[in-house]
């Protein structure tokens, strides 16, 4: 039954239904990484014998959650699960936590994102922190994100931190560092909070984590350095729920998790080449995407739309530094804002070879090109490209 109908007909439905879960409800929120982290947490809990209720990728509003609950419930209203793990949109989390008190909340990061929706970064951080403070058992958050760690410092529930080692901080710029123009302000100070799980090192698909006192290596299937950081968050959360899990075993289970929908997902095309599809939502995620997916011979397409889910304002593209693409081939820009994207690149001395607003036409040309390819796409453009790729252009790796 669609969420909206249930919500109107039976107020309180969600609270009643979810209170029957013996291990309670977990919420994952933050600007970037919600979907991938939720997927990791769900699969780690499942690998350890939990029956996990979750919301399908991207349906991260209360309504989407009501839909999943009502679809999964048995006749008589029983939910055959131990625990629920939901990713929640920052702006709608409050609506949910007013009805259902989560046991654990994971707040990943706060960064400038869809400012035509949120107004400012401080507001984004406030929404995420409010959600974290609703946790009854524990808060899990990012030791390196000062806006978040400061906001929850006085929480009643215990706080568990995840983080990256000081040597890696430069790869994970915080919001203020994304747009800082010069080195005069020393922003990159390591946090003095002690992280339960820390990303210690990474190279290609290999990552090293310190979990508690123990250091463990993993070869991951999720791609992108940002997802290695998200994995630290997932490990910290799962360790908090199941403290007796052995770190090596846990990391082994993590290595089985594959990329989430359109988040560094790889496709094999008919001409034998590989294409990686990567969602870019805001300056932080675009920057991480460029750092992770552009290799020396990668051919690039950028697809940018301007619906509400994409950000209607193109300002954010100017907070992304594209100079790392100089010398690479940007074969196409596409989407409603194909021209604006090409204009952005022009000012970093990069020429988009073709500007083709029609995404289907652009993708058709792009897929025929030889060699490794990556598509960076805003939210609705990513959905579009994903649908086209799964329909005809190739098979998912």
């Amino acid at each position: 039954m669609p969420g909206l109908v249930v919500e109107t007909l039976i107020p309180g439905y969600l609270g009643v239904m979810l209170r029957q879960l013996p291990d309670g409800v977990i919420i994952i929120t933050g600007t970037n990484g919600k979907t991938t982290t939720t997927k990791m947490v769900v699969e780690l809990l499942q690998a350890n014998g939990k029956r996990v209720l979750t919301n399908p990728t991207g349906s991260n509003l209360t309504r989407g959650i009501i839909s999943s609950v009502s679809q999964q419930a048995r006749r008589g209203g029983k939910l055959p699960f131990d625990i629920a793990v939901f990713e929640l949109d920052e702006a709608y989390a409050r609506q949910f936590t007013d009805v259902v008190k989560p046991r654990y909340v994971l707040g990943l990061n706060a960064s400038r994102d869809q400012l035509d929706r949120f107004g400012e970064v401080d507001k984004v951080a406030e929404l995420i922190s409010e959600t974290m403070l609703s946790a009854t058992t524990a808060i899990i958050t990012n030791a390196d994100d000062k806006r978040l760690s400061t906001a929850v410092a006085t929480a009643k529930a215990p706080i568990v931190y995840f983080g990256v080692s000081p040597a890696l901080l430069k790869y994970f710029p915080r919001d203020d560092e994304l747009v800082a123009v010069d080195a005069q302000t020393p922003l990159l100070q390591a946090s003095n909070l002690s992280a339960e799980v820390e990303l210690v090192a990474f190279k290609d698909e290999n990552a090293t984590y310190r979990i508690g006192q123990k250091q463990t290596n993993a070869r991951l299937q999720v791609t992108g350095q940002h997802n290695f950081q998200n994995a630290a968050a997932a490990l910290a959360l799962v360790r908090t729920i199941l403290p007796n899990l052995e770190p090596t075993k846990l990391v082994g289970q993590l290595s089985m998790v594959r990329p989430a929908f359109g988040r560094g997902q790889a496709f094999k095309l008919k001409n034998g080449s590989n294409l990686q599809l990567n969602l870019v939502k805001n300056p932080a995620s675009f920057r991480q995407g460029l750092a992770s997916y552009v290799r020396p011979n990668t051919t690039i397409m950028v697809a940018i739309n301007d619906r509400i889910a994409d950000s209607r304002d193109m300002s954010w593209l100017w907070d992304v530094d594209f100079t790392s693409l100089q010398g690479h081939e940007v074969a196409l820009t596409t989407g409603v804002r194909a021209v604006d994207m090409a204009l952005r690149l022009q000012y970093d001395n990069i020429t988009a070879k073709t500007v083709e607003p029609d995404t289907d036409a652009a993708l058709k040309v792009f897929c025929k090109l030889p060699g490794d390819k990556v598509v960076f796409a805003s939210y609705t453009a990513m959905l579009h490209v994903h649908a086209q790729l799964t329909r005809k252009a190739g098979t998912q790796l």
Binding site: G119, E120, D122, V181, S315, W316, W318, Y347, D348
Partner: protein
């Protein structure tokens, strides 16, 4: 010839791609044969001796109160530069601080430096959307507004232009921005200059004029900006 561009409070006032305006000025200056030199001015610094063009961006409310004390310190300097005709582009938060005062939603009064005879009052609703502004000197400007402050112009304050789409200063009198000598205040993000290269070139020309030199503009390939402006003509708010 050198062109000294001063970007004020770049770490605090930079919310909506304001870096783009600086990048456009820097690149176009070089393309027109000038040698751009960028100076970042942070609170507490000595104000750069050479300042041919000054740029400020939008900030969060919290950042605005952080830099307020500092901007009051350099206010007399900025006034003197405005009087000599130095061009300035102040977007959103810095536009408000260049006015007489900003009264926040909670009633807090933030005093500005009064280069523009305007007063801003925080509103409960953000005005957000694609905006078009007709100006006498710079043609149509396309941008994206995103502000909750409502700004009213004093009796003799000249606006930057009039909105043909969007809300502009306050959503009521159709004015957008302010202009005092060659200083411009505006709510237009997008950022403003990439989509309005004619304004960027005017700022460069004015800056050189102020130094006593005439800038001969080269013909640049602005076909992408032209196309983007064409698309912006019919975009909904």
């Amino acid at each position: 010839m050198k062109l000294h561009i001063v970007h004020i409070y770049p770490n605090e006032m930079n919310t909506y791609g304001d870096r783009g305006n600086l990048l456009v000025l820097e690149k176009r200056a070089a393309w027109h044969g000038l040698e751009p030199v960028i100076h970042y001015y942070h609170a507490g610094d000595t104000f750069p001796k050479d300042a041919d063009l000054i740029l400020g961006g939008g900030g969060q409310d919290s950042a605005q109160s952080d830099i307020q004390a500092d901007i009051l310190q350099i206010g007399h300097k900025l006034h003197a530069l405005v009087d000599t005709g130095v061009p300035m582009l102040m977007v959103c938060g810095t536009y408000q601080l260049f006015g007489n005062r900003f009264v926040t939603l909670t009633g807090e009064q933030i005093q500005g430096i009064g280069i523009f005879d305007v007063e801003t009052v925080g509103g409960p609703k953000r005005l957000i959307g694609n905006t078009a502004v007709e100006t006498n000197e710079f043609g149509t400007l396309y941008g994206f507004e995103n502000h909750s402050g409502k700004t009213r112009l004093g009796t003799n304050q000249q606006p930057l232009g009039n909105v043909t789409r969007g809300n502009g200063n306050n959503g009521e009198d159709r004015t957008e921005g302010a202009r005092t000598n060659n200083a411009i205040g505006t709510y237009l993000h997008g950022p403003l200059l990439p989509n309005n290269p004619q304004l960027a070139d005017s700022l460069l020309t004015l800056a050189m004029q102020c130094k006593g030199t005439e800038l001969v503009l080269k013909s640049l390939d602005d076909s992408l900006a032209d196309q983007s402006r064409k698309n912006a003509m019919t975009r909904r708010y």
